[in-house]
């Protein structure tokens, strides 16, 4: 592992406002969904809410664990590709 040469205060100076803005954007997104709620929750939003709990962790590796949560957990190739795009969250997470 390569130690980042910047001091902790410098990293905070460089990244705090950006992280603050992103946090507020997520909060606003969830508020917006609440105001316009219709029917059952989209599986992607459920996955997002579940992944957000990882942000409370004090153990490094949060990004990898969130990406793992959002990933297809199966191991075998699927029979056929019926679409070309990806959604960002695995569909079965809603069940």
């Amino acid at each position: 592992m390569i130690a980042p040469p910047a001091t902790t205060p410098a990293l905070a100076d460089d990244g705090f406002m950006d992280a603050r803005a992103k946090m507020l954007d997520i909060a606003a997104f969830l508020d917006r969904l609440d105001r316009h709620a219709q029917g059952s929750e989209d599986y992607r939003i459920a996955a997002l809410r579940s992944a957000l709990t990882e942000l409370h962790s004090e153990t490094p590796g949060r990004v990898a664990r969130i990406l793992d949560q959002l990933s297809d957990p199966s191991q075998e190739p699927i029979e056929q590709a019926t679409e070309q795009g990806a959604a960002g969250a695995y569909l079965n997470l809603k069940s």
């Binding site: 592992m1 390569i2 130690a3 980042p4 040469p5 910047a6 410098a10 990293l11 460089d14 990244g15 590796g61 990004v63 990898a64 990406l67 793992d68 959002l70 990933s71 297809d72 957990p73 199966s74 191991q75 190739p77 699927i78 029979e79 056929q80 590709a81 679409e83 070309q84 795009g85 990806a86 959604a87 960002g88 969250a89 695995y90």
Partner: protein
Amino acid sequence: MRYIEPHAHMVSRTTDDYERMVTSGCQAVIEPAFWAGFDRSSAQGFYDYLRQITEYEPRRAAKYLLPHYCWLCINPKESEDTVLADEVLSIIPEFIGKPNVLGIGEIGLNKNSKNELAVLEKHIQLAADHDQMVLVHTPHLEDKRKGTKLIVDALKNHPEIDPAKIIIDHVEEHTVGIVKDAGFWAGITLYPESKCTSARATDILEIYGTEQIWINSACDWGHSNPLAVPQTALHMRRRGHDQEFIDKILFKNPHDFLSQSPNFKAL
């Protein structure tokens, strides 16, 4: 500052981007064959595309004094149709001898289907038969982790190809270890939303080290930035990394990997 852009789909960019890249220090640009944003209807469409990236695009880049290289394949997004894939695979050898060709790529998986995997294995065999390097695309988002594992397993079935001549691209925090532990090179793609930011790419380099790894913009017709690589150098400097660190990631590493092809010569 000098850098190599090791993954850019320049056929979908303007000549203004060539000028901006060169004036930002770009020494060479590498173009893997990719999906055009829609499915091509015949092998003839691919034939014309392969002519474009082996004949026309190098001339367009040369107007800006930028060496242009490419990789050849049918992209995994079009691999579900195995009849079309076989037809395209049959015309690729005609282009392997072109002077700007570095190998077979970007092959890989998209939705991790059986047909995609079968076409991937045929591409790997093609590379082995023609002693070519390989550049591999890993799937997007929720499909990436599973696809990366399937790809690594498929490549391990071909020990005749030196892992040092294979780069597995688009790694993120949950897949970079899978790739590096297997002995392959890893590529980090800088995308505004769907892959890595400059900050996360720098984090990965700090955690996993600077050996056998590069960064690229993978700029194409979508939401992407052809100057993402030099802009990441600025982020690295702001974090306190020195010129030696930056030059290794932006220039020396891609130069070392690509120089395994006798065709590659940076400025």
